[in-house]
């Protein structure tokens, strides 16, 4: 059952719920780093206060030993190679587990909004209307576009692929669906397993 106010527990217990995959290196693969950062970007576009909420959530969950404050969170997210100020530091599996746990909790908190937006999008799509007709959906999409363009390096091949508004909207909607799938009882575990698809031995 979804729990709204998680009780404080030790980080090792929460992180142990996510099994360590059999990777060739003990660091996160490239696709996982991109995916984690993009999902966090989508939660920011959904909720303006998401950055602060994330830090509070990390403290509540006892994950502040892994995600140590704002700068550390920024450094972790900057391991995304698409970023403008991409860091060459690797993302450890423990750090990725913490971020995936935070994404799962954020998605659960925002479930109602995500469902509303997806419902609205489906209704508009059924009538062949553009997403601009749904106020909150248009709001989310435009915020996602501006976040994405402000933070990603436009010279990167991965970013050039999203050079138009339509392509970015598609990405934003895809991330919205993925956030919805993360919000369930086993959503965090599902997201974690999916990060290493095609990477394990």
């Amino acid at each position: 059952m979804p729990v709204d106010s998680p009780t404080r527990s030790s980080p090792s217990l929460i992180l142990a719920a996510l099994p360590t995959p059999q990777l060739s290196t003990p660091e996160c693969p490239r696709r996982a780093r991109i995916q984690v950062d993009l999902l966090l970007l989508a939660t920011e576009a959904l909720d303006l206060n998401s950055g602060e909420t994330l830090l509070t959530l990390a403290q509540d969950l006892g994950l502040d030993s892994v995600v140590k404050g704002r700068v550390n969170l920024w450094l972790l997210r900057s391991t995304n190679p698409m970023r403008r100020y991409s860091q060459r530091r690797p993302m450890q599996l423990e750090e990725a587990k913490a971020l995936v746990t935070l994404i799962g909790h954020q998605a659960r908190r925002l479930t109602v909004l995500i469902r509303q937006l997806l419902m609205g999008y489906q209704q508009l799509a059924a009538q062949q209307l553009s997403p601009d007709h749904h106020l909150r959906l248009a709001d989310y999409l435009s915020r996602f576009r501006s976040h994405f363009r402000a933070r990603m390096n436009p010279r990167r091949a991965g970013v050039i692929a999203y050079d138009t508004d339509e392509k970015l909207d598609q990405l934003a909607l895809q991330l919205l669906e993925q956030l919805l799938l993360c919000s369930g009882v086993l959503g965090t575990q599902r997201l974690w397993a999916s990060l290493f698809d095609g990477e394990v031995q």
């Binding site: 669906e177 919805l180 086993l186 990060l195 095609g198 394990v200």
Partner: protein, 454 residues
């Protein structure tokens, strides 16, 4: 006891009917499944239902498809045991849930559709997945059914680029190599020129070591050649080669010398060494060296060339090797002073013409002054009774490229002047100029440009 468990979500309801393990205990979990039913709220069609096989297949298909939506990586279908339920993507962001009824069920109930195809929105699929997840997390219902979330192994993932595209770089590389090989086939093989050997021949001087008397050949090496056999061979004159050879020979002798064989005094030998470091011949210098030759490694190391090769035109170098009683081997070039003198006198008195002369008058003045200073600072008192005149050639940087004596006394006494040690054979340069250097008997040094002051 028959129980019913229901997982209800906004657009999807999953209902399970089964038997508990113990009929008296209300807390006992549902362990035997009788029927599973899945009903979508908006779809106007009968609920999907089936037994354990249907439920297992539903759980697997939904799990795999959910993971595919999250990662974008398609897990290939299980070829061996395809379950009755599959989920796949449809156009326009929809998803399709397809249920094939098993042949047994179709026979029992002819009314049942052979194949049910439900179109789901993302929200509906999410609710279906959430219902499955709640069932998996529920320990009170079918405890043996738990989540098996595993990343797709690399071996199962189809590469995103087709094989033609992936093999293109390799094919291109092979084609380029073949083309390059074909093109280079027509290029002639470059001719390898051996380094030029100066045609000067070291003549046996009158102060040569005592020639072996015919009656007393060295013990045990009567078959060996003597250094005299090589008098007609060209000498190696390149100082770099000589020093290299000297090092080589020292090492060879040191390694080949048995540690227990120590001579009673210094043993000195004259060696003839080929360009590649083989000892072609050797000869004792002293009687002691003759008597104790077996205590040195020379008899074993000496290379006996085939008769026809003897006294061939192979370039050779001569060294003096001294074996001391304390196990040291000293190798020196043979009589440097004697070798240097003939080379100095036999050097052509005329220097070759300069291709391009230095014309800048300021530079000429500087070179003149620099040359004067350098000679003066190295000058020792000379034993000459008449002026010694030399033609000295400088390059642009002021290094002495070559010099030539002009009068006979200058040729004889060249070793007394500082010029031989100032010559830099490595120096070269496009622009050069000659200077006249005169050492007067009174000890006065005169330096001036050969062609006069500009």
């Amino acid at each position: 006891m028959t129980v019913k468990r229901q997982y209800r979500l906004p657009s999807c309801t999953l209902t399970l009917e089964g038997l508990t393990a113990s009929s008296s205990d209300l807390q006992s979990p549902l362990t035997v499944l009788m029927n599973a039913e899945c009903q979508f709220a908006s779809a106007n069609q009968p609920p999907l239902s089936g037994g354990r096989e249907f439920l297992d297949s539903l759980v697997t298909a939904v799990s795999y498809y959910g993971q595919q939506l999250l990662s974008g990586v398609v897990r290939p279908l299980d070829k061996e045991e395809p379950g009755p339920v599959t989920v796949k993507a449809d156009q326009g962001g929809y998803h399709r849930l397809i249920v094939q009824s098993t042949p047994l069920e179709a026979m029992e109930n002819s009314q049942a559709l052979a194949r049910v195809d439900v179109k789901l929105t993302t929200l509906q699929f999410h609710d279906l997945m959430e219902a499955v997840d709640q069932l998996l997390a529920d320990t009170q219902t079918l405890p043996d059914l738990t989540s098996q979330l595993q990343p797709v192994p690399r071996q199962l993932v189809k590469p995103t680029t087709p094989i033609v595209q992936r093999s293109a770089p390799a094919v291109l590389g092979a084609a380029t190599l073949a083309a390059a090989g074909l093109a280079l086939f027509f290029v002639p093989v470059p001719e390898v020129k051996p380094p030029e050997v100066k045609p000067t021949v070291t003549r046996e001087s009158s102060t040569a070591p005592p020639t072996s008397t015919p009656g007393t050949p060295p013990q045990g090496d009567s078959a060996n050649s003597s250094p005299e056999d090589f008098t007609q061979s060209p000498a190696i004159t390149d100082p770099d080669t000589l020093s290299l050879l000297q090092r080589d020979i020292t090492r060879t002798l040191q390694q080949g010398w048995p540690k227990d064989a120590k001579p009673s005094g210094d043993l000195s030998y004259r060696l003839v060494v080929s360009e590649d470091g083989d000892i072609l011949a050797y000869k004792y210098e002293t009687d002691l060296a003759l008597g104790e030759v077996d205590r040195t490694p020379l008899p074993e190391l000496a290379f006996d060339p085939v008769g026809s090769l003897r006294s061939s035109q192979e370039p050779v170098a001569e060294f003096q090797a001294t074996f001391s009683p304390d196990g040291e081997v000293v190798v020196e070039p043979w009589s440097t002073a004697e070798a240097a003198k003939p080379s100095a006198t036999s050097a052509p008195p005329e220097l070759p013409e300069i291709a391009s002369k230095i014309k800048d008058s300021d530079r000429i003045r500087q070179l003149n002054d620099g040359l004067y200073d350098r000679i003066l600072s190295n000058l020792q008192p000379l034993s000459a009774s008449e002026p010694l005149t030399y033609r000295v050639r400088l390059n642009q940087e002021g290094a002495i490229v070559a010099y030539a004596p002009i009068n006979a006394a200058a040729g004889l006494l060249a070793q007394e002047t500082p010029l031989p040690q100032l010559v830099n054979t490595a120096a070269s340069g496009a622009d050069q100029l000659d200077f006249m250097v005169v050492f007067t008997p009174a000890g006065v040094l005169q330096v001036s440009p050969w062609d006069g002051w500009p």
